[in-house]
């Protein structure tokens, strides 16, 4: 098989796999959530995953932790959220601070 065909197979195969995982999750019967431990865990899962995503997005590098303009930008985002700023203000504010800090070098 050519390299291009193998890459296509990986692209399409992984896409099908990712879709089936999404559908599987949505298809789990709601009665399963009746158990208190499962219910608590299901509520905590997005909290845990999103928090991990924040951490990796802000400090992650190629196989190492990297402190750069993303960290003060996240601090500004947290401050704005604490002050009750709207979503777009938080996101644009963080991006603008990171861009300015990088411009200043």
């Amino acid at each position: 098989m050519s390299a291009v065909a193998v890459t296509w197979l990986a692209v399409l195969g992984a896409s099908v796999g990712c879709y089936l995982l999404k559908l599987l999750g949505l298809s789990v019967p709601a009665s399963l959530l009746a158990h208190p431990v499962v219910a608590r865990t299901a509520l905590l899962l997005p909290v845990a995953l999103l928090s991990a995503l924040v951490a990796v997005q802000v400090l992650g590098g190629a196989g190492a932790l990297v402190v750069d303009a993303r960290l003060p930008a996240l601090g500004l985002a947290a401050l704005l959220l604490w002050r009750g700023a709207p979503f777009l203000v938080v996101v644009v504010g963080a991006a603008a601070l990171a861009a300015v800090l990088r411009l200043l070098g």
Binding site: Y19, L45, G63, A94, R102
Partner: protein, 235 residues
């Protein structure tokens, strides 16, 4: 969805569009990175259209760029995609969709649509609108940006220069913010972030975020005995 007041509906749609713009813009960098990793423009666009889960897409092209095999890339992408299944367990009960609607909803079941849907968990119509509008908004803008990034390649410049990488972190923080209520949720959030950071230097891309599943399970198991299940509460 017609149970929603017009101003509430507008607020949800504005939030969905905001998330779409913030996340979609980063699709430019995915398009550029993917082409740089050796994928064709068509393969790059197929990933954004069919896989449509950013972290998995970045993982696949990241493995290829680092010299890994296409199958290693695919395995990493699917492994990372398991978190969408966990989102689905939560969203399935909240959305209450069956058949074709569920099959369509599954395609846009991603971090952002889950987070916006959960932000309106107190009302099913609002949760459905937030989930679907965010999913479609991100789908359209992410794919348009991917195509632009793939065509322009690195000529468009480093998205980091515009602070777009910081915008993604800020967006995830804004999404998790309303969900972190109570000591247990705060402990889980801090624990998951700390564990992910500890794992970044030691594990392949994708594993640090997946490990957060363990922290959530621990948080669910360790909750005080006799406490009422916090179902529907934004804990």
């Amino acid at each position: 969805m017609d149970a929603l007041a017009p101003d509430q509906r507008r607020a949800v749609l504005r939030q969905a569009l905001g998330v779409g713009v913030a996340t979609g813009a980063y699709g430019v960098s995915f398009g550029a990175v993917s082409v740089a990793a050796g994928l064709s423009v068509a393969q790059t666009c197929a990933l954004s259209l069919l896989m449509f889960t950013g972290a998995s897409q970045f993982a696949l092209v990241g493995v290829l760029a680092a010299g890994g095999s296409p199958f290693a890339g695919a395995a990493t992408a699917v492994l990372l995609g398991t978190r969408n299944a966990f989102y689905g367990v939560r969203m399935g009960a909240l959305l209450g969709w069956r058949g074709a609607r569920r099959a369509a909803a599954a395609h846009v079941l991603i971090d952002e649509s889950t987070a916006v849907g959960l932000a309106h968990a107190s009302s099913r119509p609002a949760a459905r609108l937030g989930f679907a509008a965010t999913g479609v908004s991100v789908l359209v803008l992410w794919n348009a940006a991917t195509l632009a990034g793939a065509l322009a390649g690195s000529a468009l410049g480093d998205p980091r220069r515009l602070g777009l990488d910081a915008a993604v972190g800020a967006a995830f923080l804004a999404l998790v913010w309303p969900q972190v209520r109570g000591r247990r949720a705060l402990a889980v959030a801090a624990g998951a972030a700390a564990l992910a950071l500890a794992l970044v230097p030691a594990t392949p891309a994708g594993v640090p975020v997946l490990a957060a599943v363990g922290v959530a399970v621990l948080g669910g198991l360790l909750a005080p005995r006799g406490a009422a299940a916090p179902r529907g509460a934004a804990t």
